[in-house]
């Protein structure tokens, strides 16, 4: 049995033209790339196209990627650019209305500590409050907490300074706190 593939190994091999190594990198990051593109582009079809085009462009730009640097923010920035361009060229404002899933996840896994915090009533109230946020704040909240990006990654994805992300995030959390408390 071969050893688990280390990301830096895969990147090195991909830079040398190994398309199978790059395929592994795509599989490793496609989930977060797609969810981020979905939040930015506003629909699943554009998110899928953005993610796919972004991965292809990242492959072409791989020679400029500095080895040892974090790969995910670099990759997500390219995918996010694609999603923003797609939204812009479609001439529409991103307005992904977030909805709670109608069915709870099934399975034997115990609910996470975070999940056990939320009652259905609280979940609906919080979701409604998020959807009422101004778009720039809602996007930051969605990328930060729903997609799971760091503040640095959100800044890279949106093409804004990290300070802007912090301030938007702080204002959004303040408004949400009013609904939550």
């Amino acid at each position: 049995m071969g050893r688990p593939l280390d990301e830096s190994d895969l990147i090195g091999r991909a830079k040398r033209g190994d398309t199978h190594a790059y395929e592994e990198l795509v599989y490793a990051h496609q989930g977060i790339a797609f969810r981020m593109a979905y939040v930015i582009a506003g629909n699943a079809a554009d998110a899928e196209d953005s993610a796919q085009d972004g991965f292809v462009k990242a492959w072409r730009a791989l020679g400029r990627f500095r080895e040892g640097a974090p790969f995910r923010p670099w990759l997500l920035q390219i995918v996010a650019n694609e999603a923003r361009n797609r939204r812009r060229s479609a001439g529409r404002r991103a307005h992904v209305t977030l909805r709670a899933a109608t069915e709870q996840l099934s399975g034997d896994a115990a609910p996470s500590p975070e999940a056990s915090l939320l009652s259905a009533e609280l979940r609906d109230a919080l979701l409604a409050a998020v959807n009422e946020l101004p778009e720039d704040q809602r996007t930051v909240i969605a990328l930060r907490f729903f997609v799971g990006l760091s503040e640095h990654e959100v800044a890279e994805a949106l093409g804004v300074p990290e300070g802007t992300v912090k301030s938007r995030s702080a204002r959004a959390l303040e408004r949400l706190r009013e609904s939550y408390d």
Partner: protein, 230 residues
């Protein structure tokens, strides 16, 4: 992380966000397809550049391009031209035929459909006609396949040979004397005609080689050539 932030993380897990598609294979196929196209393009460009350099540098020209092929045409550079004389463009092609007869006899359907010519000529693997273009008579010959040795061209050192931007690959021959020798193909090496030739444009497209010969300059000949294969 505050309680509110933990609640937002929990909310994120319950949102109706579509499941991500499987992108790995699709991305890999796209980059491999693109890579293949790019390699083919780079190879073609490298050939054109190398060809241009070889033609531009006299020592290289004489050393490298003594002998080369383009489609069904062989071009050989010699120091001494064989004996040849001026002859009609269609000399050696046999009797004039109708288009259906020529296509049947040659086994080559004529690609050029815009001709008003009524006289066509055929040899195995070759169909020809004479066009009138800008006041000049121009011989159009279309050769099927890329078997080398069907026709042979001998060019004196002072004949200008350069790449021409047409089809998959094209060359232009102008100036000086050069001798054209048509040879029958299909395993039958038989000389049809030997004569002095005028300005010539040769190019390949698909599995066909086109040859235009007449008293036109390169730009005019390229216009006509592109019209034929448009």
């Amino acid at each position: 992380m505050t309680e509110l932030e933990r609640a937002l993380v929990a909310l994120g897990r319950e949102l109706d966000i579509p499941v991500e598609p499987d992108l790995g294979l699709r991305v890999r196929e796209r980059i491999e397809r693109r890579s293949r196209h790019r390699h083919a393009l780079v190879l073609a460009l490298a050939l054109v550049v190398a060809f241009g350099i070889a033609l531009a540098v006299p020592p290289a020209r004489s050393a490298i391009l003594r002998f080369f092929h383009i489609g069904a045409v062989t071009i050989e550079r010699v120091d001494t031209l064989p004996a040849a004389r001026d002859r009609p463009l269609v000399a050696g092609f046999g009797p004039a035929l109708s288009l259906p007869e020529a296509e049947k006899s040659s086994g080559v359907p004529l690609v050029f459909k815009g001709t008003r010519a009524r006289r066509f000529y055929a040899q195995p693997g070759l169909i020809a006609t004479v066009l009138q273009y800008r006041g000049a008579s121009v011989l159009l010959a279309e050769l099927q396949g890329d078997q080398m040795g069907l026709t042979k061209k001998l060019a004196a050192p002072d004949t200008r040979v350069e790449p021409a931007p047409i089809g998959s690959f094209g060359i232009w021959l102008e100036g000086g004397k050069h001798v054209l020798i048509w040879e029958a193909g299909s395993g039958e090496i038989r000389q049809l005609e030997r004569r002095l030739a005028g300005n010539v444009l040769i190019w390949t497209e698909g599995d066909r080689t086109y040859r235009l010969e007449g008293g036109l300059n390169m730009g005019q000949m390229l216009d006509l050539g592109r019209h034929i294969t448009r």
